[in-house]
């Protein structure tokens, strides 16, 4: 199969949930309206896109593969290409919404140095795309995002997350002095990444973690066994 056929296959057989794609479209359209009215007012849209993306990319792989839905692509392409195509299709709607929002921000600000298009913005999108996708390869649809929601909510409620968040927000040098805690905050709550100050080593570490997650997801698909559901039980 060609790359276009592989992408077309997953877009037809296991696209991100239509309701989430619609929400991403509404958010992107909203960002255009907001930026037209008030430049720089759509930061909350970026956070919302990241939140929706966490769910949109967690499409799962093994569930469909062990039902046999992916048989034509598993027999027609190399496994690494299959895995990358699956990731690309899963992440595409969020990426598109991100680019539209970033474009609206850039036009309104007459600058490319806007939250969506600066390095922290791209790193946040990469984190929100890579981690749930990789964690979801062997999990049911949405499971990693629901787990993330529960963990982050409990961290927020218990007060563990608030002090470092406040510190990063109020002190631009805090993240550089507390790199490991900063990485933990960004992983637990990627929605704040685009609009806060992060030193380059922290951003590089976060990007590295996201890249590693994608590699692990690809490796999981490449090495996976795909018996039909009733065989392997």
């Amino acid at each position: 199969m060609s790359v276009a056929e592989e992408l077309g296959f997953f877009a037809a057989v296991s696209p991100p949930a239509p309701v989430l794609v619609a929400v991403l479209g509404i958010l992107a359209a909203g960002a255009i309206v907001i930026e037209t009215i008030s430049a720089g007012g759509s930061d909350w849209v970026l956070a919302s896109i990241l939140l929706v993306q966490l769910f949109a990319v967690a499409t799962g792989f093994f569930g469909h593969a062990t039902r046999g839905y992916y048989d034509p692509i598993l027999v027609g392409s190399s496994r690494p290409r299959v895995a990358i195509a699956h990731f690309a299709v899963s992440a595409a709607p969020g990426l598109a919404a991100w680019i539209v929002t970033g474009g609206a921000e850039a036009v309104a600000a007459r600058s490319l140095a806007v939250p969506a298009l600066r390095a922290p913005g791209w790193v946040a999108l990469l984190l929100a795309s890579a981690l749930p996708w990789a964690a979801g390869v062997r999990a049911p649809r949405f499971a990693p995002a629901i787990l993330w929601l529960l963990v982050t909510a409990s961290l927020l409620v218990s007060g563990v997350l608030l002090p470092p968040l406040t510190a990063i927000h109020s002190d631009p040098g805090w993240a550089a002095r507390h790199a490991l805690r900063s990485i933990g905050v960004a992983l637990a709550f990627p929605m704040v990444v685009p609009t806060l100050h992060w030193p380059a080593p922290v951003l590089l570490a976060l990007a590295g973690i996201a890249a590693l997650a994608v590699l692990l997801g690809v490796a999981g698909i490449v090495a996976g066994d795909y018996p039909t559901s009733e065989e392997g039980t």
Binding site: M1, V13, P72, L74, S78
Partner: protein
């Protein structure tokens, strides 16, 4: 002759459960091999191991053809119900087969789903080896005849088939060799060693003998 596809001392376990072991099987160009066994004998697992979907616990699968030259249909249940028939026809046949039916697969009858899946796989001209799992399941007499004729036509063009089926009347007379999977062991016999001509009764008789039954 180089085999299109060959299993060498292939074995598969799920946990401690041995599905099959020491399986030797080859599929040559232009031949049809029938795979027979009881429900749960491991026929589907063997097909999926040959396709590379399931990694063997021991042994190896050797292909002399590129992976894209393999065709496979695992039955109507393996078609995604939310995809339209037209889309699936295009995707699974890689553009070689078109369907005008825009209904979702879940809205099709069982026989229509089976025909859709088979038509898409058999339409691909680049397939050199096709593995089919219970292909006659759900087909009416016209569909069954179409399938048998399509297999014969593709075989004449050099395509090899490995077909797992319980429909002994359809399988009998179609195959050059028959592979019987019983108690985790595969026994492969040439058609002339099963019967001349091979009938469904011959297949039952040989199968019963191999598994030590009546």
């Amino acid at each position: 002759m180089t085999a299109l596809l060959e299993a060498r001392r292939l074995a598969k376990k799920f946990g401690r459960r041995v599905i099959f072991s020491d399986v030797d099987l080859r599929l040559d160009a232009g031949e049809v091999v029938g795979l027979l066994g009881r429900n749960g004998a491991g026929k589907t697992t063997l097909l999926r191991a040959l396709l590379g979907f399931v990694s063997p616990s021991a042994g190896a699968v050797v292909r002399s053809i590129p992976i894209r030259a393999l065709g496979h249909f695992g039955g109507a249940a393996t078609l995604p119900p939310h995809v339209s028939a037209r889309t699936w026809a295009r995707l699974a046949s890689r553009g070689s087969f078109a369907s005008a039916d825009t209904r979702q697969i879940r809205a099709l009858s069982r026989g229509a789903r089976q025909l859709l899946g088979l038509s898409a796989v058999l339409a691909r001209p680049d397939s050199r080896a096709i593995l089919l799992d219970e292909p006659w399941e759900g087909l009416d007499p016209d569909g069954s005849r179409w399938l048998s004729e399509s297999i014969g036509s593709r075989r004449a063009g050099g395509c090899g088939f490995l077909i797992s089926s319980h429909r002994l009347h359809d399988l009998a007379g179609l195959c050059e060799r028959y592979a019987f999977l019983a108690a985790g062991r595969l026994t492969v016999l040439r058609a002339e060693d099963v019967g001349s001509p091979v009938g469904a009764g011959d297949l039952v008789r040989v199968f019963d003998r191999l598994r030590g039954g009546p």
